[in-house]
């Protein structure tokens, strides 16, 4: 029986705001600020609602969601940086903060977290290992191994300020691999990496976790990052809208394609017409005011060339100018949008 290494039950988190009367000003507001002792000047925001899931040992688990879905809030709760309002967290058999911190390795590229600019690559690794309680002898040996693994041995004596953004990113990832904890969190790991480096990173994560029976949680917007995941969880507005293996998530999209169009003089009633085609699963159009003159339309359709012609004919009849049309494979983004729409429909 595979051990459950992470168990999350009924996690809720609300960022408490003022919830003040917007006509309040001046001293009254100032006093409320002091006594409420809250940093948040906005209204209260529900970040996570009834989040429950578990992750097995050795699994690579993906979390996908739009901006503001709650991914970072969830990861911060799982790493002890943020307290949930309610619910329980059990990581590697313990719910104590100290044990949780001892079980996880958090790899985030936000601001190249804590890299010391005056120190060299190797010195940064040593510092990181020291903070996490690694012994000197092991630390020295492991630092060299990890630098070799990520292809940075030649740069080990360079100062951080001499590295490119991608190399700093690699160093951040190296730090996470260095401390060898049962669970790794990778938060947007391939940001700033070129295509080859990103591919190498995914390969490293996949082989490293498999070889050492580690568990990894990846949050990413890059479909290729999530492609190595065993299961993917979709978050939307703080709720889980899907949690399945990759295969099951893609199931409704078997034999589907995405039709991308850029059009001039496209009206919202035309979108309803597109949706009414039998072979169209979903269709969306971006009518938001921006500097572009065209409207972007996206439709998930059956793999049917005749359908594409029919849609084109319909639009041309309505004097819509099609600037660009493209049929491509369905990506995780479209699948996510489908689940979001599906949930909203059910609600």
């Amino acid at each position: 029986m595979i051990k459950k290494i992470i168990e999350i039950k009924n996690i809720n988190k609300k960022y408490k705001g003022f919830d003040f009367n917007k006509s309040e000003r001046g001293v009254g507001l100032w006093i409320k600020n002091i006594f409420q002792l809250t940093s948040n000047k906005a209204d209260s925001t529900l970040a996570l609602k009834d989040i429950t899931f578990s992750i097995s040992e050795g699994e690579i688990f993906g979390i996908y969601g739009s901006n503001g879905a709650g991914k970072t809030t969830l990861i911060k709760i799982l790493s002890g940086l943020l307290n949930p309002d309610s619910g329980s967290i059990n990581i590697n058999g313990s719910s104590k903060n100290y044990d949780i911190k001892n079980s996880i390795s958090y790899i985030s590229t936000n601001g190249w977290m804590g890299l010391e600019w005056q120190l060299t690559v190797r010195e940064n690794l040593i510092l990181y290992g020291d903070i996490f309680g690694m012994k000197s002898k092991l630390l020295n040996k492991r630092s060299d191994e990890i630098l070799e693994l990520i292809g940075m041995s030649e740069n080990k004596n360079k100062n951080i300020s001499q590295l490119s953004a991608g190399m700093r990113q690699k160093l951040t990832i190296a730090r996470g691999l260095l401390i060898d904890k049962p669970v790794m969190y990778l938060d947007e790991p391939s940001v700033s990496l070129d295509v080859n480096s990103a591919r190498d990173l995914r390969h490293i994560v996949k082989t490293y976790t498999k070889k050492n029976n580690k568990t990894a949680i990846i949050t990413s917007h890059v479909p290729a990052d999530l492609a190595i995941c065993n299961r993917i969880m979709f978050l939307s507005k703080g709720e889980i809208i899907a949690l399945e293996t990759k295969e099951k998530l893609y199931e409704p999209y078997k034999n589907r394609k995405v039709l991308d169009m850029k059009c001039l003089y496209f009206k919202d009633e035309y979108l309803e017409v597109i949706k009414n085609f039998e072979s169209v699963l979903t269709a969306t159009a971006d009518f938001s005011k921006n500097s572009k003159d065209y409207i972007e339309i996206k439709a998930v359709i059956k793999n049917d060339k005749k359908l594409v012609t029919e849609i084109m004919d319909m639009l041309l009849d309505k004097n819509v100018i099609i600037l660009n049309m493209n049929v491509k494979d369905v990506s995780i983004k479209e699948i996510y949008e489908y689940y979001v729409v599906d949930k909203e429909t059910r609600d």
């Binding site: 307290n83 100290y98 985030s108 190249w112 804590g114 010391e116 903070i131 309680g133």
Partner: protein, 291 residues
């Protein structure tokens, strides 16, 4: 025991790291020595202005250079212990290092003490240098007959000022003072201490209300006792501070008692507030720079 050992090892590591960063600025060491030298020089020239004049430093002897050098020493300690914790917290927050420390199994204590080490290696040796320059170049003279008592006073000063410094540092998270200016430090360091600590003049020259204001800071008592003990000719018995005049205890003993009380209150209070601030930030999601 294992956890304590691990924390201690991390503290040593932090110290090494702070030293590496401090020494990576090549000119730093030279500028550091010269800065201390010229600070002492300024007051030596000031002492020349007062030479021959009847200046009343009673009960602190008659050597104005020694008087000033001791004031400068206490200033350096205060600058570090009271003035530095808040900017250090701000630095590790804005530098993204706070994320790192909070993710690690380290206690709240170790990173804070670790980052303060840079201030310690920067400022504490200045005390020795100031005393040295004063004695070698500018005619300061010292009575180290009561060295043990002087070290006790210095230790209590370190603890009490660090406690106030931690109260100041706590405001970063507790009251969300993420701007460069921080009111607690400003009020203590730039107003009360600057005016009433008596770094450069005896407290007795101030109007009585300001002398009373000076009764609330540890610097007053530390300087009073240290000057009596270290400056040759210092009088150990005459009462000059407002509290000394109302409490019937020998002045130096009273100074030590008050410093001890301030230490016992300030440091635990400062730590408590700091941890309270961290916990509040963890609740609100403002612990680290990146949301």
């Amino acid at each position: 025991m294992g956890k304590l050992r691990s924390e201690f090892d991390s503290l040593i590591m932090f110290s090494k790291r702070e030293y590496i960063i401090w020494s990576s600025y090549r000119m730093n060491a030279w500028m550091w020595v010269l800065d201390t030298f010229f600070n002492t020089t300024i007051f030596f020239f000031l002492s020349l202005v007062t030479k021959g004049a009847t200046i009343d430093f009673f009960p602190y002897g008659t050597n104005y250079v020694t008087f000033i050098v001791l004031g400068l020493s206490v200033y350096y300690i205060s600058f570090t212990n009271l003035g530095d914790p808040f900017p250090r917290v701000a630095r590790i927050y804005w530098g993204g290092t706070m994320d790192l420390y909070m993710l690690s199994p380290l206690s709240y204590f170790t990173p804070m003490m670790g980052v303060m080490y840079r201030s310690v290696i920067d400022d504490y040796p200045r005390v020795i240098l100031a005393l040295l320059f004063g004695g070698v170049f500018f005619g300061a003279s010292y009575n180290f007959g009561n060295l043990g008592l002087s070290m006790i006073l210095l230790t209590l000063l370190l603890i009490s000022t660090f406690g106030i410094g931690m109260i100041s540092a706590s405001s970063f998270y507790l009251f969300n003072f993420k701007q460069k200016a921080e009111p607690i430090r400003f009020i203590f360091q730039d107003i009360i201490i600057a005016l009433t600590a008596g770094y450069y003049y005896p407290l007795t020259v101030l109007p009585y209300p300001l002398q009373v204001l000076g009764s609330f800071i540890p610097h007053t008592y530390a300087l009073d006792a240290l000057r009596r003990l270290i400056i040759p000719g210092g009088n150990l018995y005459v009462k000059v501070l407002p509290l000394q005049k109302v409490i019937n205890i020998q002045p130096i003993t009273l100074d030590i008692i008050i410093l001890a009380i301030m230490s016992v209150i300030a440091l635990p209070l400062g730590w408590w507030m700091y941890i309270k601030g961290i916990k509040k930030a963890r609740r609100e999601g403002t612990l680290t720079r990146w949301q």
